[in-house]
């Protein structure tokens, strides 16, 4: 790679032209509500099934980002998207409705990072002019796929996280914004032997720590270089482990670290460790963080979406949970 062993530097500075976020009712009751672009009153979005609802969410996020940039779907070269459902049906079914070339992505909840990296690389290489990077998740579709029926009277364990209902999309382009993707570190799959599917924060924390360490090493930067290092969905407990892991390498990141999953819900909302899901990092980045980058309050941001690469089948077969994290560095150019 052109910037150390795992890091890419984007020499032509691919720009973030716009961002759009759409969330469910529970998310809009959380502390980030003022930053979201659209909120649903009911989480079925007027659809017959939750799968259809998630698909509509995903599509709304993509079209929202396109409109926000003052463009039309004809101006978009590639739509890069992913989600959590089997065979990424949400992204592919929303691509069915949009007349845009499609690249489907999957790396669980870190898909947003992967989509951003591929989009930025294609633009940086001069192959395309514009790309949308989008991900979504829905509490009710994820529960069915990974856990139990919705109406079953079960309790959440203390380390569990609540899947975010929402979709976020960033529109990347060659020019037209002062926020650009500066570099990215592609994570390795890391497994530290956690097997509890209700403790995904702990399963993903080592991957996040390794990717951040590698990024700092490859770029010869210290944590202070960034205004914020933002992990995807480690949750409150996972974040604690992440900081401990960095500390064991002599890096103190507590002052700059934030976690999208830990930020999205209020403590009163009864989501033990916060939010998770492929939509978690994308809605929080495209609302809260993009807003503050535009306003100039944040100048350099390292976004590290994290993913737990498990399936219901792998858990039942007794496999441990591998984690992955991709780091994407955003910077703001002052005019």
């Amino acid at each position: 790679m052109n910037f150390g062993t795992q890091t890419i530097r984007f020499n032509n500075k691919p720009r973030v032209l716009s961002g759009y976020s759409i969330v469910g009712p529970k998310e809009s009751m959380g502390p980030l509500d003022p930053y979201f672009h659209k909120r649903l009153r009911k989480d079925d979005f007027g659809q017959r099934s939750y799968e259809k609802a998630e698909c509509k969410l995903h599509m709304s996020a993509i079209s929202g980002a396109i409109i926000a940039a003052g463009m039309t779907p004809q101006d978009i070269d590639v739509n890069i998207g992913g989600d959590l459902l089997n065979q990424i049906i949400t992204s592919s079914f929303s691509a069915r409705e949009l007349d845009i070339s499609f690249i489907g992505m999957y790396s669980a909840c870190s898909t947003f990072g992967q989509a951003l990296i591929v989009g930025a690389a294609l633009i940086d290489g001069g192959y395309i002019r514009t790309a949308t990077a989008s991900t979504s998740s829905h509490f009710s579709t994820a529960e069915r796929q990974y856990r139990y029926p919705l109406e079953l009277g079960t309790q959440m364990t203390p380390t569990a996280q609540w899947t975010v209902t929402g979709a976020g999309c960033s529109l990347l382009g060659k020019e037209g914004s002062n926020i650009f993707v500066e570099s990215a570190t592609i994570g390795k799959v890391v497994d530290f032997g956690i097997s509890d599917a209700n403790n995904m924060g702990a399963a993903m924390a080592p991957a996040a720590a390794k990717t951040v360490l590698k990024h700092l090493q490859d770029t010869s930067r210290s944590v202070d270089y960034y205004d914020h290092i933002v992990t995807g969905d480690l949750g409150i407990y996972g974040s604690r482990l992440f900081l401990k892991l960095l500390e064991s390498e002599g890096i103190k990141a507590g002052a700059v670290h934030l976690d999208c999953g830990a930020m999205i819900y209020d403590k009163k909302q009864r989501c033990p460790q916060g939010g998770s899901g492929a939509g978690c990092s994308s809605v929080v980045f495209n609302s809260y963080f993009l807003h503050h980058m535009r306003a100039g309050a944040i100048k350099r941001l390292l976004l590290v979406p994290t993913g737990a690469l498990l399936s219901k089948l792998s858990s039942l077969q007794g496999e441990t949970i591998p984690g992955i994290a991709n780091a994407v560095a955003f910077e703001r150019e002052d005019d």
């Binding site: 029926p149 109406e151 009277g153 956690i194 702990a202 892991l245």
Partner: protein, 149 residues
């Protein structure tokens, strides 16, 4: 970075634990309340049908409780009770009704046969299988003892 073993030890040490006292109390209270309602039904049936024997009253009570569990599941109330009560609402027969009705509702979107009928027992299946298997075993032993006598 710290080793895999050290990390697992760290996780075991730091992971937040369930508040046992609170969970037990809620389970006890709600479980007890459900049993009280069951007893209420039983007394009511005894009052209405004074000539019936204990067995019939028991069957009627179970039916009423199963109906109640299914109804509350359908209205989306049972899972909310379960959030607080845990085992207190899983163990009684109403919990069994909840475990059958909830997947039936969930998989309705996949059609009557492959959705509702196939998936209805995904949660309750193990309970039914072990129930039948153990009753066969007990029945066999019972018969054997009878033959020896």
């Amino acid at each position: 970075m710290i080793s895999r073993t050290e990390y697992n030890e760290l996780n075991a040490k730091l992971a937040p634990k369930s508040k046992e006292g609170r969970t037990l109390l809620f389970a006890f209270l709600v479980g007890g309340l459900i049993c009280m309602i069951g007893q209420g039904f039983s007394d009511l049936f005894k009052l209405l049908l004074p000539k019936s024997d204990e067995k019939v009253i028991g069957q009627l009570t179970s039916t009423a409780m199963i109906f109640l569990g299914a109804l509350l599941t359908g209205f989306g109330i049972y899972d909310r009770i379960g959030k607080y009560a845990g085992g207190g609402s899983i163990i009684p027969i109403t919990g069994f009704a909840n475990s059958v009705v909830s997947p039936a509702m969930e998989y309705r979107s996949e059609g009557m046969i492959f959705g509702v009928m196939c998936k209805m027992f995904v949660v309750a299946g193990p309970i039914i299988v072990s129930g039948i298997a153990s009753s066969v075993a007990v029945g066999f032993v019972y018969r054997l003892i009878g033959a020896i006598k």
